[in-house]
């Protein structure tokens, strides 16, 4: 298949040229922020750095970080870099982890964001011949508006469905022969199950590709969706703070997401020390916007843990790739010297046929960490013999060992016995006293 690009010159630009472009843009962006955002200027002054110290991307490390806490402190206008008269849009986060974040966009910012989404759609095989069903939520959430704009730019016939009303989704999908579906992976799986229940086989479903993001999903889930819908499923990444979906996107190789480096400069840092780590290291992903006008964030800490790679991609794109985030730096644990993320436990449970209802208990006895995982028994997995259940516990512990490199003790516990607070289960109990 001929590989197509939305903006070929950028997407296949030699790495040295991309870095040069990033350096030029960074110098301007830092000046813009320093001159227009007192909140960030103060942070720079506290660190003793001025725009004159920034000559290119090699000086990025000198700049202070921004965190979610800064966004809360500066809510709503504290990080705005343009007069409201020049802004045309806001988008906002759900606010599940604290005060919501409101991001502002000029028309230039909206265009840039939609270009990023258009690149993702073309990378998934989209052309102006396609019918693109956008079943992400529309409104404050960035998913719907972002992919809607990208779909327009590519010239697809756009079905602005928003999420929900699955019957109607299926009716439009089949009546108008939608070829690309954009939504969260869990909704894609749900639509797939519903189609299957209604008797549709994958070859009767007109879709050929899906662009799924906005929530963590596993490789197993991808294969499941691809099989049920008879499509190729592409991952897309983004966050409201930097614009929305399209910060990075997957190509046909499906081995990580190309970052739109001309707009977003990525770094990997040690979440504890803030030190920049060399390429290929696992650490916290940090983004610097390079040419945003209204809401330009410099060195924004995403809390997502991942790895970057410049390995040559068969799709021809030279844009750096990020692995699917492996977890959040806030819930990363170090047990017996190994990094463990609750999401890894979750992956194993889903793969082994359990529900992701679990609790990790870490303690230290003498100088050794104990690592216990309580998993709720399900009706499907229940065996009526002690030996059967003991075998199940062993099998789960082995699967976790393969994933993590260290051996947990797995305990199957009664359903709903894992404490839930405010509806959300407490995933990790760390009883170690590692700090005084």
């Amino acid at each position: 298949m001929e590989q197509r690009y939305y903006q070929k010159e950028i997407e296949t630009m030699p790495v040295e040229e991309i870095k040069k472009l990033q350096s030029e843009k960074l110098v301007k962006q830092v000046r813009h922020v320093y001159d227009n955002v007192p909140y960030y200027r103060n942070l720079m002054e506290e660190k003793g750095v001025t725009p004159e110290d920034i000559h290119g991307i090699e000086d990025l490390y000198k700049l202070p970080f921004l965190t979610k806490a800064d966004l809360r402190d500066a809510y709503p206008y504290g990080l705005l870099a343009k007069p409201l008269s020049e802004c045309v849009r806001i988008q906002s986060t759900s606010g599940t982890t604290g005060r919501r974040v409101v991001a502002f966009y000029t028309q230039h910012d909206v265009d840039l964001w939609e270009d990023c989404c258009a690149r993702a759609i073309v990378a998934a095989g989209g052309t102006n011949e396609d019918v693109c069903q956008v079943a992400y939520g529309y409104g404050l959430f960035t998913g719907g508006p972002g992919l809607n704009g990208g779909s327009h730019k590519v010239g697809c016939l756009t079905l602005p469905m928003s999420s929900g009303n699955t019957e109607r989704q299926i009716q439009f999908m089949t009546d108008l022969s939608a070829t690309i579906l954009c939504c969260t992976p869990s909704y894609a799986a749900y639509i797939g199950e519903t189609l299957k229940e209604q008797g549709y086989t994958p070859d009767q479903i007109p879709l050929k590709a899906g662009i799924f993001g906005a929530e963590p999903w596993t490789e197993e889930m991808r294969r499941g969706i691809e099989k049920t819908l008879g499509i190729k499923a592409y991952d897309i990444y983004g966050l409201t703070e930097t614009s929305g979906p399209g910060v990075s996107f997957e190509c046909c190789e499906q081995t990580g997401m190309h970052i739109n480096e001309d707009h977003f400069l990525a770094e990997i840092i040690d979440p504890d020390t803030g030190e920049v780590l060399p390429e290929g290291s696992k650490g916290e992903l940090v983004f610097t916007s390079l040419d945003k006008e209204a809401f330009p964030l410099l060195r924004y800490r995403t809390r997502d843990i991942c790895v970057l790679s410049r390995k040559k991609c068969s799709c021809g794109r030279t844009l750096i790739k990020m692995a699917k985030p492996m977890g959040r730096s806030d819930d990363m644990m170090i047990i017996r010297g190994v990094n463990v993320f609750p999401s890894q436990i979750e992956t194993v449970l889903l793969k082994e046929g359990y529900e992701p209802n679990y609790q990790i208990v870490v303690d230290r006895v003498g100088n050794t960490d104990t690592f216990d995982v309580n998993v709720e028994m399900t009706a499907e997995m229940f065996s009526d013999t002690v030996s059967g259940i003991t075998e199940q516990e062993k099998a789960l512990a082995n699967a976790m060992k393969v994933m993590l490199g260290i051996n947990p003790k797995v305990h199957l516990v009664a359903p709903k016995s894992i404490v839930r607070s405010e509806g959300k289960a407490v995933r990790v109990i760390d009883k170690r006293k590692l700090h005084d």
């Binding site: 028994m377 229940f382 009526d384 259940i389 003991t390 009664a414 359903p415 709903k416």
Partner: protein
């Protein structure tokens, strides 16, 4: 074949009484029970007069349970009778995963609930040796 209810029980105070209370409140009579326990959990095995009611009221309360086929054998209340039954199974090459016994209120008989590795083979061997096997319908009358 006899149906047994196996319930996953957490090792914590009051776990068992919650189950027996629930069954009592729904007029389910217990005929026999046994508990297997480990450090982490227990398995409560029940023979009751009404499996359907017992299963649905416990499931409603969020218990994980399973209805398992087991063998119920009527054993004369005399020394050596159980040994005879077990040797029949051994000769038929059937292993016993677990067993427990109960007495009937009215007759001079003991009953043994056996979970063999192979239900069909166990049933065949015991019937061939003239043992009387009971079903849930029999249990209701005991």
């Amino acid at each position: 074949m006899l149906k047994q209810l196996t319930v996953f029980v957490e090792n914590k105070q009051g776990a068992l009484v919650d189950i027996t209370d629930t069954l009592a409140a729904n007029h389910v009579n217990l005929r026999a029970l046994s508990i297997a326990d480990t450090q982490d959990f227990g398995l409560l095995r029940l023979i009751v007069n009404d499996n359907d009611t017992a299963a649905s009221v416990l499931q409603e309360k969020g218990y994980v349970l399973k209805i398992t086929d087991v063998i119920g054998v009527k054993i004369g209340d005399q020394p050596g009778k159980l040994s005879t039954a077990l040797s029949v199974l051994a000769q038929a090459g059937v292993n016993v995963e677990y067993l427990y016994a109960f007495m009937a209120r009215t007759e001079k008989h003991a009953y043994v609930v056996i979970r063999p590795t192979d239900n069909a083979a166990a049933e065949k061997a015991l019937e061939a040796a003239s043992f009387h096997l009971i079903t849930n319908a029999d249990v209701e009358k005991l």
